[in-house]
Amino acid sequence: MNCFNAIIPAMFLLFLHLAPAFAAQGDVSAANEGAVYDDLFLDGDMDQGQPVQTVVVADPIEPVNRVFFQFNDKLYFWFLKPVATGYGAVVPKPFRNGISNVFKNLEFPIRFVSSLLQGKILRAGKETGRFVLNTTCGVAGLFNVAEEVAPLASSPEDLGQTLGRYGLGHGAYLVLPVLGPSSLRDAAGRFGDSFLDPVSYVSPREASMALRGEKVVNTTSLRLGEYEDLKEASLDPYTAFKDAYLQYRERMVQQ
């Protein structure tokens, strides 16, 4: 009997002793849930012991950017989307994928030079391998045969990312008319990229412009609905696209 009387306090002590171990492993009483949530998500917003990095980029010309954002929105819904939809109805998807591959293959110099400038020699080599394989066996890039070769995985690189890799920040967020979200750094990168894009050297100038137009329409026809989805899901589309762009570019720079 003596022994039985001792059990209850003993169990109580045991519980006290083990409770922290329990709490640390996820068995939490309902009353304690709020505290755990706080601990997990509120204080300092920690991931792996480090504060979550939020990209903060100045937006000094926000009113102008918002105007261009609206302009691009209307351009998309009133012009680009109907054109791309009609184009998609006429040109079968496999052809459009092929055309997209050709343009991507032609951008090889951008990826090659950017990889080299970032000291990514192996990546530059892979890109060269891809380019040779797709241009020859893939009939001028129409078929992405290199994709079947796992070690030749492509990696999007451009001069904007290269500048980011060198430690240059965005400077300021920009919405470019027609081209969309960008920044001072990335717009400069794009300008540089255009010198590495063979399409820029097509003459006459009208032909070059036509090719660019085709590229935009073709790409849009393959991505219809994406813009609408993101816009529909957002409360403040301007901020949503700005943040998505900056997060996306951040990841590209880090890779």
Binding site: L14, G26, V28, L40, D47, N97, G225, A233, D243
Partner: protein
């Protein structure tokens, strides 16, 4: 005294077993994601159920898979404490509706995409991430689920699509709203958004 000792030993053994629980058999983060993906695909491919029932089943699955309170707290960050408890509950419900709607409509566009589960990475004692890829033709979209464990259940608190965190993206939006509006007005804007979905359906 023997009885007491036995009890203590049993209790200790029982407790020693539990810390590893989180990372065994059916309860690893990766198995939770696998399970959820299979269930979702099962619902989508079942041709015997109506579109409405599909949406309902998908919503239920979403509620098991995502921890909407965690998502809400993380999204608002310090702003969470500026809401009254009642407002917090309101926010969680509305935000869940918004995400659920986005997720269920998006996923129903599913045609011949394939979900590949790549692996999991433990972030700390409570957190892990599961890397997946949605493959459609030559396109593949990397999707990472950030999960945490509470009461022995792994649930999602953030999703990264192509490196873009859903939570951070919404945080930037709510912050920009809160910069010019009161928490009450922010909740009303969220409600208007959710209602616009419901009226369009």
């Amino acid at each position: 005294m023997k009885k007491l000792l036995t009890l203590i030993i049993l209790a200790t053994l029982f407790c020693m077993g539990s810390p590893q629980k989180g990372f065994t058999d059916q309860k690893t983060p990766i198995s939770v994601v696998e399970n959820a993906v299979n269930k979702v695909l099962g619902v989508l491919q079942d041709e015997t159920i109506s579109v409405e029932d599909k949406s309902r089943s998908l919503a239920e699955l979403a509620h098991d898979f995502f921890d909407f309170e965690a998502l809400s707290r993380r999204t608002l960050g310090i702003g969470w404490k500026k809401l009254t408890p009642a407002e917090q509950q309101e926010f969680v419900t509305l935000y869940a509706d918004l995400l659920e709607h986005t997720y269920t409509t998006k996923i129903q566009d599913y045609s011949n995409e394939k979900v590949v589960i790549l692996g999991q990475r433990v972030l700390n004692a409570r957190k892990a991430e599961v890397n997946t890829e949605v493959v459609e033709g030559s396109k593949s979209i990397p999707i990472t689920y950030r999960m945490f464990i509470m009461n022995d259940v792994w649930r999602v608190y953030d999703v990264y699509v192509e490196g873009v965190s859903l939570v951070k993206n919404y945080r930037s939006q709510f912050n920009s709203i809160l910069a010019k509006n009161s928490p009450r007005e922010m909740i009303e804007q969220l409600r208007a958004k959710v209602e616009s979905f419901e009226s369009s359906n």
